[in-house]
C-alpha cells in the first residue's frame, strides 16, 4: 500500500466514548494531531490519563511473539490454534476489555474448541450473578436515577474515586426532569467501612464494621416491614440501631430510591448472600415506593461480556462447553477455580488486564501451561502479572480509539465506539476469527486423518 503523508492538522472528534470505568461517558471530545491524541475534553482524570497515554507500538515493530521471540502474526496464530486444538481442557478467560463484536467471536471460539469460558479471575462478579439468579433484581438505567432519584445510597462503593463523573452525570449533582435542582433535590447516604471521598459529599455517612453488610441489610429488611429487632445489632455493625431505623424510614418514604453497591459487598463472609440481602431489601421497598438496586461495575466492557455470553449460551460467564453444549456453574466453571484446581491444560487470556495482581498460585499454574495472550497493553505483553511468560502473545489494537464496535455501560446501555486513529495492530476480533479459522482447518485435518486410519469400509 502506498503511504500517504499524514497531514499534521488537528482534528476534533466529538461524542467519543471512554470506558475507563462503568460510567462509559460518551461526550468526550478527542483532539488528534499527527496520529496522537493531544486533548480529551470532558474526560475525568482517569479518562485523560488513558486517552493521552502513548498507546505506542513496540520498538522492534513486532506484533506477535512465540516463547518471547518476535514472529509473524500468522505464525503466532498457527501456534495459538495448535495449543487450543491439542488441549483436552482449554480455559478461555478475560473478554471484559473487548468490544461486543470481538466478545461474540471469542464465545464462538470457546464453543468450537469445547473450552471453559469465563470473564475474570475475580469471583465477586459470579457471586452477584448467583444472587441475581436466586431472587432477581429491581433495577433501571442510569438516566432514571438522574431524572427521578430523591434518595441515593452508596453502599461499599466510592464513585467519587472509582467512577469520577458518576455524581455529575447520574447520581449526585445531575439535574433531571423531576430533579431540576440536582443535588438539592436528593438525599445522599453512604454506608462504608471508611469515610471515603463520596462519604464526604453525603448527607449522612454510616460507618459500618467490615464484613457486617448482611447483618445491617437484613436488619433494614426487618425495620422496613415493621418487625422490631429482638436485640441491638450495633455491636456487630458499628451503626447505631436508631440510625439504621432512620435510614429504613427514609427509604420507605422517598419517591424514588436507588441503592448502588460495590463489588466488595460479595467479597466478605456471606458472599452472594450479602448481595441477595441487598436485592431483597430493594424488592421489599417496592411495596411502599419505587426503589432500585445497581451494582457498580469496573472498567472495560464487563457488562457487554455478561450480555454476549448470556445471549449466545443462555448463561452468564462461568460456562463450560466441554460436553458440546453450554453448562453453567459459577464457582465450578470459574477461571479462578479451574486454575486453582489445576484442571485446565491450556489457557487463552483474551483482553485480561495484564497488570492485574495474579495470585502466586495462579501465576504458577499459568506458567506451567501452554498459554495464549491477546492484549492491547504493550507494556505487559511478555510478562503479565509480572511472573509468567505466555507461550503466544499477540498485541491487538486499542479498540476504544482504533477498532470501533459496541460497549455496554454498567446499566447495560449499549454505546458505539468510533475510531479516531488507525493502528498498525490487528483488531482482537480479527485475530480471534483467524485463530478460529485455523482451528477449523486443523480439526478437519484431524477428522480426515482419523477416518483414514480406520481405513475404507
Amino acid at each position: 500500500m502506498a503511504s500517504t503523508p499524514i497531514p499534521t492538522l488537528s482534528v476534533v472528534y466529538p461524542n467519543r466514548v471512554c470506558n475507563q470505568c462503568g460510567c462509559v461517558c460518551d461526550d468526550i471530545a478527542l483532539t488528534v494531531e499527527a496520529g496522537n491524541i493531544t486533548k480529551a475534553d470532558n474526560a475525568c482524570d482517569m479518562g485523560q490519563a488513558w486517552f493521552l497515554a502513548k498507546h505506542s507500538d513496540p520498538v522492534d515493530g513486532a506484533l506477535a511473539w512465540v516463547k518471547g521471540q518476535p514472529v509473524s502474526l500468522k505464525a503466532a496464530i498457527d501456534t495459538a490454534a495448535e495449543i487450543l486444538v491439542q488441549a483436552r481442557y482449554p480455559l478461555i478467560f478475560g473478554l471484559a476489555d473487548l468490544p461486543c463484536e470481538a466478545q461474540r467471536q471469542a464465545v464462538g471460539l470457546a464453543d468450537r474448541v469445547g473450552a471453559c469460558l469465563d470473564t475474570t479471575l475475580s469471583d465477586e462478579h459470579g457471586a452477584f450473578d448467583t444472587a441475581f439468579q436466586e431472587v432477581g433484581e429491581v433495577t433501571c438505567s442510569l438516566g432514571e436515577v438522574k431524572n427521578r432519584a430523591d434518595l441515593v445510597i452508596f453502599w461499599g462503593t466510592d464513585p467519587v474515586t472509582s467512577h469520577p463523573r458518576h455524581g455529575e452525570r447520574f447520581s449526585l449533582d445531575a439535574k433531571g426532569l423531576f430533579t431540576p435542582r440536582g443535588r438539592a433535590d436528593r438525599f445522599v447516604v453512604v454506608v462504608d467501612v471508611l469515610e471515603t471521598a463520596t462519604a464526604k459529599q453525603a448527607d449522612v455517612f454510616l460507618k459500618i464494621q467490615k464484613g457486617c453488610d448482611f447483618e445491617a441489610l437484613w436488619a433494614l429488611r426487618a425495620m422496613v416491614r415493621g418487625i422490631p429487632l429482638r436485640e441491638s445489632i450495633q455491636k456487630q455493625t458499628g451503626i447505631e440501631d436508631t440510625a439504621l431505623a432512620g435510614l429504613s424510614e427514609r427509604m420507605k418514604s422517598c419517591r424514588f430510591g436507588i441503592l448502588f453497591f460495590g463489588p466488595g459487598l460479595c467479597a466478605t463472609r456471606g458472599r452472594h448472600k450479602n448481595a441477595e440481602a441487598a436485592l431483597l431489601l430493594v424488592k421489599d421497598l417496592n411495596d411502599y415506593t419505587r426503589f432500585y438496586a445497581k451494582p457498580m461495575s469496573g472498567p472495560g466492557n464487563v457488562s457487554g461480556a455478561e450480555n454476549v455470553v448470556c445471549w449466545q449460551t443462555g448463561y452468564p460467564p462461568g460456562v463450560h462447553f466441554g460436553q458440546g453444549f453450554p453448562r453453567f456453574n459459577s464457582g465450578e466453571f470459574s477461571a479462578k477455580e479451574i486454575l486453582g484446581r489445576g484442571e485446565a491444560d491450556a489457557a487463552m487470556m483474551v483482553a485480561i488486564d495484564p497488570k492485574a495482581p495474579f495470585s502466586d498460585a495462579i501465576k504458577k499454574r499459568l506458567a506451567a501451561l501452554p498459554t495464549v495472550l491477546l492484549t492491547s497493553d504493550a507494556e505487559n505483553l511478555l510478562t503479565p502479572g509480572v511472573g509468567f511468560r505466555p507461550t503466544v502473545s499477540i498485541l491487538t489494537a486499542p479498540y476504544t480509539i482504533s477498532g470501533g464496535g459496541t460497549v455496554f455501560r454498567m446499566d447495560d446501555t449499549p454505546l458505539p465506539l468510533r475510531p479516531v486513529r488507525s493502528s498498525p495492530r490487528p483488531n482482537a476480533k480479527d485475530v480471534l476469527a483467524m485463530i478460529e479459522k485455523r482451528i477449523e482447518e486443523l480439526q478437519t485435518q484431524k477428522r480426515v486423518a482419523m477416518q483414514n486410519e480406520k481405513g475404507p469400509r
Partner: protein, 555 residues
C-alpha cells in the same frame, strides 16, 4: 443458489386461493418464480414433494426473542434450561440452550426446524436497539424485525399532551429510523409512566398521565393516527392497559372503540379478555364473546392471541407493573429493569397449571378467540412467546384448533369450573389446513405489511415448508420434512443443513429536519447518552431490507 424445483406438492397457499391442489413450486435465486417456459431448463435441485403438504414459511408476528429484557430473563433462569435438552455443537451449528428463553443461535435453529422463517420481536426500548440488533445477528436463518416501545416515551407523551401532532409524527419517524425498527408498539399506554412515578391505581382510558397531562386515550389515538400518517407497513401494535386484571375486557373494548375506525393491531388479546372484578377471583370469567363480536364487526382491527398452554415458562413484559403484581401472586423471583425516558420491564417465572382455575380459563379464552373470530385473515397465532408458552407450542395449538375431540379431552382434565365460565365446550369449529396456513403465515404476513412473505406467488421470498401429512397434527407441524429459506434447504428431516443469516426488516420514513433541534434539546437535557450516539447505523443491520412507507397497505 440457482434454480430449485419442488415437485408435485400438495399446496396450501390461501393468498392465491390454492387449497390443497397438487403442483410444482419454483424458486430462482431465493425468490418464488413461475415455472420456466423453456421446457429444456434443468433445475439445479429437485425436491420430490409427492405426498407432502407445502406452505409458505411461518411468520411469528409477536414474540420476545432478543434484546435487554429477553437476555435478562436468560440470565435469571439457569434452572429453566437444565430441564430441557441442550442444542449440541456440530461442525455446522453452534451450541445453545433451550428452556422457555432459548439462546440466540438455538432460537434460529428451533424456529427454522418448525418451519418458521420470519419473526418479529415485539418490544424493544429504542435506547437498547443497538443491543437487539447484535442479538439478531446471532440468530441465524430467520428474517427479523422489531417494534419499538413508544406508548410511554416522554417526548411522545409531551407532544401528545400539547396536541403537537406534527412534532409527534416527525419524532416517530426519526426514532424509527434511528433505532432501525420495523414498527411502533404501545404497552400499557401511560400506565408504565404512572407506575414509574409511584402511582399504584389502575390506568383506564381517561386516566391522566402524571407530570405530562395526557390520557391513555390520547396516546392510543395519536399514535395510531401517526402510524397511519407515516404509512408504516404495520398498524399501531397495542398492548392494552390493565393486562391480566379481572374485568379488563371493558378497557379492551373501550380501546377498540376509542380508535374510531383507525387501523390497529391488538396483541395477546387473550390476556385482555377477562370478566369479573379485581378483588374477587370467584367472579373471574371469559368475556371473549363480547369482544370478538365487536372485533368481527370492525374491520380496522387485527389481533394475535397470546395463547396460554400448561407448563413452565417465563413471563416477560415491557409492562413493569405486571411484573410486580405477578411476583406478588407467585412469590417467585422478580427482575425489573426500567429504561430512562422510554419504557419499563418485568420478568417473573410462571407455571401454568391445568388444575388452576385462572390458568385453565386463560387457556380456554385463547382458544375461544381463534374459534370466535369469523375472518381468519384478521387473527394470528401467537403465544406471546414466552409469556403464554414457548413458540415451540405452536404445533400443539394447531392440534387443538383442528380437533374438537382433542379440546374436549383437555377440557375434561382441567379445573372443572372452566367449562361453565367459558364457551369453549359449545364451540364446534375445527380449523382446516388452509385456515392453519392463514393464521400461521398468510395473515400475520399481511397484517405486518410484508408483501413478500406468507404466500407462494412469483415474487414472494422462496420460503417453503414441506410437511408429511399426519393424523397427529402436532407431530406433522413439529417436524417438517423440508424447510426452504430463500431457496436454500435449511432443514432436511429435522436436521439443520445450512445456516444462512436472515435479513432485517426496518423502516425509515421521512421527517422534517426542522423537528430535530427540539428533539436534540430534549436529549441533551434528560437522556444520559448523547443525541449523536443514539442512532444505530447500518453496520448493525447485517443483511437488511428497508420497507417502503406510505404505499398501498393491503394487497
Amino acid at each position: 443458489m440457482g434454480l430449485l424445483k419442488i415437485s408435485q406438492a400438495i399446496i396450501h397457499d390461501p393468498a392465491q386461493g390454492i387449497n390443497g391442489s397438487v403442483g410444482d413450486l419454483w424458486i430462482k435465486d431465493g425468490v418464488m418464480c413461475p415455472p420456466p417456459t423453456d421446457l429444456t431448463v434443468v433445475p439445479d435441485r429437485v425436491l420430490d414433494a409427492r405426498g407432502l403438504v407445502a406452505m409458505a414459511g411461518g411468520v411469528d408476528m409477536h414474540c420476545h426473542i432478543a434484546g435487554p429484557k429477553v437476555n435478562l430473563a436468560r440470565k435469571l433462569r439457569p434452572e429453566d434450561k437444565r430441564a430441557a435438552l441442550p442444542i449440541r455443537r456440530t461442525t455446522l451449528t453452534r451450541s445453545g440452550t433451550v428452556g422457555s428463553v432459548p439462546s440466540t443461535f438455538a432460537t434460529g435453529y428451533l424456529y427454522a426446524g418448525m418451519g418458521y422463517t420470519t419473526a418479529i420481536d415485539a418490544a424493544i426500548p429504542p435506547l437498547s436497539a443497538r443491543h437487539a440488533h447484535q442479538e439478531f445477528q446471532d440468530i441465524p436463518i430467520l428474517d427479523k424485525g422489531f417494534l419499538i416501545l413508544l406508548g410511554n416515551n416522554h417526548y411522545a407523551l409531551r407532544q401528545i399532551a400539547q396536541g403537537e401532532a406534527g412534532r409527534l409524527k416527525d419524532f416517530a419517524a426519526w426514532i424509527l429510523k434511528a433505532s432501525g425498527a420495523f414498527g411502533i408498539k404501545l404497552v400499557n399506554p401511560g400506565g408504565i409512566e404512572n407506575w414509574k412515578s409511584g402511582i399504584r391505581s389502575m390506568t383506564d382510558l381517561d386516566t391522566t398521565v402524571a407530570h405530562f397531562g395526557c390520557t391513555a386515550r390520547q396516546i392510543i389515538t395519536s399514535l395510531a393516527q401517526t402510524v397511519m400518517d407515516l404509512g408504516l407497513p404495520h398498524a399501531a401494535h397495542i398492548h392494552c392497559n390493565n393486562l391480566g386484571i379481572p374485568g379488563n375486557f371493558a378497557t379492551t373494548l373501550a380501546t377498540m372503540q376509542a380508535l374510531e375506525g383507525r387501523r390497529a393491531h391488538f396483541t395477546h388479546i387473550q390476556f385482555h379478555s377477562y370478566g369479573g372484578h379485581p378483588d374477587d377471583q370467584s367472579l373471574f370469567c371469559s368475556e371473549t364473546a363480547r369482544l370478538a363480536d365487536y372485533f368481527n364487526r370492525n374491520k380496522n382491527l387485527t389481533t394475535d392471541v397470546g395463547q396460554v398452554l400448561f407448563g413452565e415458562t417465563t413471563s416477560m413484559t415491557g409492562d413493569g407493573p405486571v411484573g410486580y403484581y405477578l411476583s406478588k401472586i407467585t412469590g417467585r423471583k422478580w427482575a425489573n429493569s426500567d429504561t430512562e425516558m422510554e419504557a419499563g420491564c418485568g420478568i417473573v417465572p410462571i407455571t401454568y397449571k391445568e388444575k388452576s382455575f385462572v390458568h385453565a380459563l386463560q387457556w380456554a379464552i385463547g382458544l375461544e378467540w381463534y374459534l370466535l373470530v369469523d375472518d381468519p385473515w384478521r387473527i394470528a397465532m401467537s403465544t406471546d412467546h414466552p409469556n403464554g408458552a414457548s413458540f415451540l407450542a405452536y404445533p400443539e395449538i394447531i392440534a387443538q384448533l383442528m380437533s374438537k375431540n382433542y379440546r374436549d379431552e383437555i377440557l375434561a382434565r382441567v379445573h372443572p369450573k372452566v367449562a361453565e365460565k367459558s364457551h369453549l365446550r359449545e364451540l364446534n369449529r375445527e380449523y382446516t389446513l388452509n385456515e392453519i396456513a392463514i393464521i400461521t403465515r398468510a395473515a400475520p404476513a399481511r397484517m405486518l405489511g410484508l408483501a413478500h412473505k406468507g404466500h407462494l406467488s412469483p415474487g414472494a421470498d422462496g420460503d417453503v415448508v414441506l410437511y408429511q401429512p399426519d393424523h397427529d397434527r402436532r407431530r406433522m407441524f413439529e417436524f417438517p420434512r423440508y424447510v426452504v429459506k430463500s431457496g436454500v434447504v435449511v432443514v432436511d428431516n429435522a436436521e439443520i443443513r445450512q445456516t444462512p443469516a436472515g435479513q432485517l426488516f426496518h423502516v425509515a420514513p421521512g421527517h422534517d429536519h426542522a423537528a430535530l433541534p427540539d428533539i436534540r434539546k430534549w436529549f441533551d437535557s434528560f437522556y444520559t447518552i448523547g443525541f449523536d450516539n443514539y442512532p444505530v447505523d447500518e453496520s448493525y443491520f447485517g443483511h437488511h431490507s428497508q420497507m417502503g412507507c406510505g404505499g398501498s397497505l393491503e394487497s
